[in-house]
Symmetry: C2
Amino acid sequence: MSVMLQMFADCGALSAFPPVSSTLSPQRAMSLAGPLLPPRTVVFLEGLARSPQYRVVDGCVATAQTLVDGRRQIIDLVGPGRLIGLGFGDQNRYSAETLGFTRLEAVSESMAQGERDLALSEMLARSQSLVMLLGRKTAPERVASALIDLAEQFGRAARDRKRRSVTFHLYPTRGDLADWLGLTIETVSRCLTRLKKAGLIEIRHGDLVTVLDPEQLSGVAAGARALTN
Amino acid sequence: MSVMLQMFADCGALSAFPPVSSTLSPQRAMSLAGPLLPPRTVVFLEGLARSPQYRVVDGCVATAQTLVDGRRQIIDLVGPGRLIGLGFGDQNRYSAETLGFTRLEAVSESMAQGERDLALSEMLARSQSLVMLLGRKTAPERVASALIDLAEQFGRAARDRKRRSVTFHLYPTRGDLADWLGLTIETVSRCLTRLKKAGLIEIRHGDLVTVLDPEQLSGVAAGARALTN
DNA sequence: CGTTCACTTGACACTCCTCAAAAGGAGTGG
DNA sequence: CCACTCCTTTTGAGGAGTGTCAAGTGAACG
């Protein structure tokens, strides 16, 4: 699977950063305000002994499951403030990997029960939204929905209030988006191109997205607007 | 919400349920060991004020979300022992509906925190499995996976131990399965036909399913076996 | 200045959806 | 007991949307 090979390549290419590999000792990983993790750092792996819990302070983490034949499905993209590593049994049910420079913060196992409950409920709600998206939405609807979600999670305060436009850093690659939305890289790319040509979004430098028309983008996400080719 | 008359006959034949009128007062439905609810009874509705929590004692409940344009996605099929109505805010995030004659049991809001936590975690894990299924599995894989899940939840003790076959009552209609698996009725039907012709399953009276070859069915579910047309 | 890698674009194939009709069961009334 | 209807399921034919394969573009980096 090409996506996996990309991961390896990226890991190698970025190894100039401090060696915070996945085999990091628990102590150091848990230190309360953790180090800056480079992109494509594996935080923990599906199937291995249960990892500690973290809060994403800054950056982005993808949680994913992989089938035996290599097919990958991203379960969620987690932005600042949200937790990863909850709700496990004795082993991780999914892998977690950074998508950009990311700072994590260890969260004690004995966190407030109410906080844990809330976080679990939120994860469940998001998972159910993804189920709806994957089961019943078309490719353009999926991509539009994804952009709206990312805008909410990663949108900058620096917005054009006049047009209500929002700009955010697009942490996931086309491949990540494809694995999240149940599509292929090519389909994601085509949908983004169509959204650009329709004037609903703008992408600069490959990873800086501006939502120019939130109203219409929501319309596309809901299937109300057709998005002419 | 049409009542499926077919279910009446079959349910009656399968287990000697006491006869119960199909129109129930909410009070009686909420009493601790509730009455027998007929098929297609709406337990609670998405968007309305938060409902109490229930445990499914016997039968089957479908939880589902619906888009504004009517597209429906079943979030989960819930069998005996499992809970519905957890993890909400102030309003229901999905609807719940019985798929066969079903007995519910009210569960207090102040249930043991550990129990609630476990139930939430299980719901999350199942939701994530569904995400994997919807995002990355083909139609035959989805149908085979669904049958395996249903066999585990509803399989009878009366099994042919020799061939390890399992028989269960198929509560969901083809339409329900389609809405669960992100497919259409026709595709579900075609996949079931192919599974029957391949000798992996058998369906009697439309809703009594026997898994004849669990091994190969698992193979199909995992994408290992191709399921020749 | 060439290499690499992500992304884009095009042509084509295939799975699954749509539309349509037939088949199968269950209940109803003659 | 046999039509008759209603509804679900099955089956078929055709088409749309997305995947696959391949080539091309552009940016980052050595």
